[in-house]
Subunit: 257 residues, 4 copies
């Protein structure tokens, strides 16, 4: 039985990744381009590389409250090695934290494929999605009414000529949603950073199954910083959560042994 | 009680990391420079940024056999979300896998500090370390007699004028070890990629406690590629391990109930 | 904002879990009964407690090849604390490793509910499932044609008078499958330990969403033993995987810088 | 190359753990006894088995604030599978959370060995430890001045005739500490549940390296209950932490691009 892999070949004094010697990549190809190489098997264009770089930076950190950060710092506070705490944080990249990238990219890719196969127009498709999908992933944010990362990422995608049908579609969804009478009483739902990344990686040809990967790669850097801050600045096992808790289980009772 | 953090401040439509608005960083500051910013609180010089970028790339992957990769692909093969599998891989960044960076950086920093405080010379210190430390971290490799990543990283450190006392010290250790009569029967122990990273980050002023962090950050990219390959190319729960196993516990026995 | 929990109330010198003082539970209520208490909020009958105990033991270990064990030992071999390695193993409790309990319990519970609501008989339902479900979770095993754990668990469920509609249904599925002409050329698919646990916990009234939990609880004990064996008996970072690997990515190429 | 293991042997329809057929263990040997078997290679006496059972129950839960629970529920709130969230919680079994068992057991075992090798008496050793060790692991608790679990566990160890030199030593330390003039102004430091478990497993002959394992095994049950409560009772990605946070990094600044 042979285990085939197309990623890296290792021999004595010789390490080849996706066909390139690692010593050639190191310091010559920017890390974000190397990420593209790892995921796609070929080097990106200059524009693609810069776009990936921007996506990674857009995912680095959002303060101490997201589950990734709270989990990482909580685990760090228990006295474990740095990688254990960072990994604990990454376990919180889930369906409702980063997962919108995956779900939104899937939605966009499936619908753009249908458009391309001669179905309805992008505009009609946007209207249809609003009708059919109860909660569209990649729209809305707890804190931001206009996510500054979204605007920047879309501006860059335009500038780098990466914008395509997927970005058009999500923008159409956002616009129609803002106009939709059924939503009249609700505040407009802006495209959040997850939706922006979803649309851009879809226009770049990435499989939606890699949706969480970009968030995860950028966030790892932020988590390292947080875990290090926890290790060097805080006391071990401090109380990270001071919410009042209330026990509402069965009242105290005697055990009949 | 207030939880202070110096990393990121979040307000409506406003995200500031280490003093910079994220929309300013995105696409303008390369990701490797952002990593430096996150860990040090200030932007790197152009040279420092390029050095960090090179270090990240030097850590991306070493094929399917290292514990990080085997753990990640094993967990992926059980049918879990991509981040769960990647995190499982990162848990294997341990004392004997990536840990040499931390231990070597600690050794170099402690000894260079002693030299700077008016102790023995770097050369004398190197000799002393060889005598005292049974197994010097950052030297030797299972496969490579001359690690191609080490050569490239040191060349770059030289070119970028980052080389300093820590690189000098580890090279002195390597050289003295090669000449040492006590080691005469052993093959020379080359500086491996862990040792190279340890010396370089020490010359850049990083705390040795961050040693594993650089390896972890680069390796995350490789693990994403491996987990994705496992998910898309292999059958679930395939046998990843074909070593013959032998049970040598107690012989089968009856339970006296 | 108040965070309500019905599990444990803690005050000075006073810890109450599901209404019982912990000092009353300790040494008086067997651990498997405490597991039931934690998950259901009430103490089990003697029979229910013994059944949970049996389920936990049936999940402890299946040698070194399952993803849980291979992941845990791989991570342990990298030099990390015991809990980090055990947790890495538990991350491999996934859709295709332990997940059959969850999926099978869901299938059984949905169909038994339909039967109870006045639908078809259990026998008819079994036939329908075989027709409709391509691959029925909880049946078949890579190694065992008659899983010794299944027989024992079902025998015990019978003895403890826990057997009900869910066990009847899965046995009907197994029998009809064995007789089905369409499967004539295939070997009979036996109920595996996952299917047995799924049917039993369903007859005990557990939510199928807890399916993986029982496997996880039992397996944790086995993983601790394996990680400890790895730590005390093996060399760090030994090769755990000897499958031959073959790189089939792009052929080595020069980087045009 | 052969990988030897003394834990489990698997063949078709045949699973033997530590020499016993699993179908013989299931439902006949209580789970806590099976844990002993897994870790020690032999079945416990009735008394040892009951003691292990009590230790497991003493570790199940301490409400929502410990790092294990907060990490598990935080990760669960991000929308991941139950085992991913439970594993995240276990990653927080660290040097300052559960770790006292390991450190205390090590301290007790090393000192009792010295006493047995003809050194000072247990009483003298206790005095020496108080003088030499700045912070003795296993003593003191944030909330409990008399941990109800400690009292119960020690009572049971007495009743089951498991008490030996290690329990005597830790009690001597506690008593001398209470009397020590140097500590006169401090409140007495009671033996906490970690110290009690440490002393008992030491008297039972367990390696101190397994210290965290017992805590981990019991706590897994509590974490499953908490993760399930989070999944079924709470909204996804709710704010688990409402501490006020304050950014004290660099003030907002413009990026000179």
């Amino acid at each position: 039985m042979i285990w085939k892999t197309a990623i890296t070949k290792v021999g004595p004094n010789h390490i080849v990744t996706r066909g390139y010697r690692q010593e050639d990549l190191i310091g010559n190809v920017p890390f974000a381009h190397v990420v593209f190489l790892l995921l796609r098997g070929k080097l990106p264009s200059k524009e693609e590389g810069r776009m990936i770089d921007a996506i990674l930076t857009s995912s680095i950190d959002h303060g101490v409250t997201p589950p990734t950060c709270l989990a990482a710092r909580t685990v760090a506070s228990a006295g474990v090695p740095l990688p254990t705490a960072v990994a604990a944080g990454l376990l919180a990249v889930g369906d409702v934290h980063g997962g919108a990238i995956e779900n939104c990219a899937k939605l966009l890719q499936e619908n753009v494929r249908r458009v391309n196969e001669g179905g309805k127009s992008l505009e009609e498709t946007a209207s249809l999605i609003i009708k059919k999908v109860a909660r569209i992933p990649g729209l809305g944010h707890r804190i931001h009414t206009e996510d500054p990362r979204t605007k920047r990422l879309f501006g860059l995608a335009e500038e780098l000529k990466i914008s395509g049908a997927h970005i058009t579609l999500i923008k159409a969804i956002q616009n129609k949603l803002a106009d939709a009478p059924v939503r009249a009483k609700k505040k407009a739902l802006p495209i959040n950073v997850d939706g922006a990344i979803a649309a851009i990686i879809s226009d770049m040809g990435f499989d939606w199954q890699l949706g969480k990967a970009f968030f995860l790669l950028g966030r790892t850097a932020g988590l390292v910083a947080h875990v290090y801050e926890e290790m060097t600045r805080e006391k071990p096992m401090r109380r990270l959560c001071e919410i009042e808790t209330e026990y509402d289980g069965p009242w105290e009772r005697n055990l009949s042994i």
